[in-house]
Symmetry: C2
Subunit: 337 residues, 2 copies
C-alpha cells in the first residue's frame, strides 16, 4: 500500500498506535508538543522538519528565511501548549551546492529567531544530503496549570483566533506569481507573513493563565484542519461562521484580484501560526483584555457544540460540513501546495 | 567557499561561534550532548540525523535496521555523558517509493531499540523527502556528579575503551563486498555490529559514578578522531599504543584476508559506539571491576600527557602523529566511506 492512500494523518495514527509511553509522559504523541513530568514545571518537547522541494523552493525563498522559519514553527508548537520555549537542537542536511556563505545565512536566520524568543541553541548535527533539510527539536516549559491541550474544548465554548488568517497563503501566492499586481507595502507584508511568521508565545502563555480558556492549538495546517483536530480530540462538534473568518485584508485584495474566494485562503491556507482556542462565554471579556496586552486579538470565529465534526455556518444560516482539507503530506488529492 | 574546503568540524565551529547560550546552559554545543540545568537532575539533549545515500544504502540495509540505528546512535550520545536516555522525538522524511510496509518496518526498528533502552518516543513529524531521512532528538538525565565531559582528561590518566573496535567497519566491508569469503557466524556478528550497535548505557552510567573516571566520549567517528576530540577539548596530549588497539577478532580476520591493516579499521573505522574514557591510574582496578558488572570491558589503549595532539606509539617504541582521520562529512579527502 502506498503512503498517499492513507495520508499523513492516517500514517501517523498507524505508526504511533504501538508506541509505548512510559512513566512521566503526561501527554505523548497527539498534540502540538509532548508534555513530560519534570518536578514542579512540566517539560514540553516538539520537533518539526523542513525539506527543500517539499516545504520551500530556494528559487523563491532566501536561505536565511528558511533558517528563521524552521525554528519559528517549532516555537509556535510550544506556544500552542501555553508554554515558554527554552532550548533547541538543530540537525541540518546540506546539499553539495551549498556554500559556506549559504550555511552562514541559514544560521543567521536561526540565530535571529532564537534571540527574538529567548531560545538557546544547545546542539546540532550537520550532514550531507541531496537537498537542504532542517530538522529542529525544541524544548519548552510550563506550569502544570498553564498547559492547554487540543482535547479540552467544552460544548458552549466560543472558538477564537489571535489574529488574521490567510496572510501566509497570500504571500505564497505572490511568491509563486511574480508579476501579480499588488501594491508594494501589501506585497511586503504578505511575503513577510509567509517567510517570517511570528509565533504567538506571549499570547499562548497568557492564555495558559486563564481558567476560562479550554482548548488550544496553533494554526499550522489551516483553520479548517486545526479546528477539526480540536473537534476530534475533544469529542465535540465545531461550527465556524463563514462571515467571521478574519481574512487578512491584504490577502482579501489579492484573492479577489486572482478570482479566488478569500475565505478559502483563510480556512485552508495554513502556516499563519496564529493560535486557535476555545473560551467559556463568561470569560470572553477577560480573555480579550488579556490578549490585547500581548498585542494579540481575540476574534470569535465559531462555537463548540455537543456532537462531532466541523461545520461552516453560511451567511444565510445554512450549514455545510467542512472537509479537513488543508496541508497534508502524502495526501492523494489534498492541500493547496 | 565550498563547504568541503573547511570540512564538517570547521563548519560546525564557524556556525556555532556566534550562537548565544542562555541561563541554565551548563554545556552547550561541543560535547556529545548538551547539559542543561533542571533542578536536582541535569537534563541532557542531543540530536543526530541519518540520510539515505549518505549514511546508509537501502540496497544493503533493511529499513528496520535504519530505524534501529537512527535512535541507537543518539542513545550512545547520552551514554557518552554518563546519562540515562529518557524521551525521544523523531522527524522522518519519506520518499515517494516508500510503502506503508516500509514505514511500519522503520518504526518496528525504532520501537525495538526504544524498548530495549527504556526510551519513550513522545512525538514526531512526518514529511515527504527525496530520500529517506530520520532525524532523532533525544533527552536524557544525569545527576550533577554523574556527568562526564570530553574536556576533563588529566595528564597521567590511562585511556581506555569498553570493548573491541572495528566491528562496524568489518561489517560495512562485508556488506559492500557481498561475495567476500567469511565464515557465516563471523559475517553475522560483524553485520550486526554495523547495523544494530548496542550503545553502552549501563557502562556510561557506571562510569559517571566513579570519581576516578575523568573524560568520556563515545566512539562514533573512530578511535583516532574521538581521542583527538578528548585531547583538544581537554588541552592534553594523547598517546595510543598500536599494540593495544583492541581490534574485533572477526574484523582482524576479514581485514587480513582483504590485505588491509586491521589496526586501521580499529583506529579509523568508527560507528563502534563503544565508550572511550580516561581514568586516574589508581582507579583502574575499581573501574575495571565496575564495568565487568555491566558486561563491558576496561581495555587500556593509551595514556594522557601534558602537551597537545594525538600520537601513536608503535611496537618499537617510536612515535607517529595520528591524523584525526575518521568519518567526517564534507571532507575534501577524508573518511573511509
Amino acid at each position: 500500500m502506498k503512503i498517499h492512500e492513507i495520508g499523513e494523518f492516517g500514517l501517523i495514527a498507524r505508526l504511533t498506535s504501538e508506541i509505548e509511553t512510559g512513566a512521566g509522559v503526561v501527554k505523548g504523541i497527539g498534540d502540538d508538543a509532548a508534555v513530560l513530568d519534570n518536578g514542579e514545571r512540566l517539560l514540553l518537547f516538539t520537533t518539526d522538519a523542513v525539506v527543500e522541494g517539499v516545504h520551500f523552493d530556494l528559487q523563491h525563498v532566501a536561505v536565511e528565511d528558511v533558517g528563521y522559519k524552521s525554528l519559528a514553527v517549532n516555537i509556535s508548537d510550544i506556544a500552542a501548549m501555553g508554554g515558554k520555549p527554552t532550548y533547541a537542537v538543530i540537525s541540518v542536511g546540506l546539499p553539495d551546492y551549498f556554500t559556506v556563505a549559504d550555511a552562514d545565512a541559514l544560521y543567521r536566520g536561526l540565530r535571529e529567531v532564537a534571540r527574538n524568543y529567548g531560545v538557546a541553541v544547545v546542539g546540532g548535527d550537520t550532514t550531507g544530503a541531496p537537498v537542504l533539510i532542517v530538522s529542529v527539536a525544541l524544548l519548552g516549559e510550563a506550569s502544570p496549570a498553564g498547559v492547554r491541550y487540543r482535547s479540552s474544548a467544552l460544548p458552549g465554548d466560543i472558538v477564537c483566533v489571535t489574529g488574521s488568517l490567510g496572510g501566509s497563503a497570500g504571500g505564497l501566492f505572490l511568491q509563486e506569481n511574480g508579476g501579480f499586481p499588488c501594491p508594494e507595502p501589501l506585497r511586503d507584508l504578505l511575503l513577510r507573513k509567509h517567510r517570517r511568521p511570528e509565533p504567538r508565545v506571549a499570547a499562548g502563555r497568557m492564555l495558559g493563565t486563564l481558567s476560562g480558556v479550554h482548548a488550544l492549538i496553533d494554526i499550522s495546517d489551516g483553520l479548517a484542519s486545526d479546528a477539526s483536530h480540536i473537534a476530534r480530540a475533544s469529542g465535540v462538534r465545531c461550527h465556524i461562521y463563514k462571515a467571521a473568518v478574519p481574512v487578512e485584508p491584504a490577502t482579501e485584495l489579492v484573492a479577489r484580484r486572482a478570482g479566488k474566494d478569500p475565505v478559502d485562503w483563510g480556512l485552508y491556507g495554513g502556516e499563519d501560526y496564529e493560535l486557535l482556542f476555545t473560551v467559556a462565554p463568561a470569560a470572553m471579556g477577560e480573555v480579550s483584555a488579556a490578549l490585547s496586552e500581548c498585542g494579540a486579538d481575540c476574534r470569535p470565529v465559531g462555537k463548540v457544540l455537543e456532537g462531532k465534526g466541523l461545520w461552516m455556518v453560511l451567511t444565510d444560516g445554512s450549514l455545510t460540513e467542512l472537509s479537513r482539507r488543508g496541508y497534508e503530506h502524502f495526501a492523494a488529492a489534498g492541500g493547496n501546495r
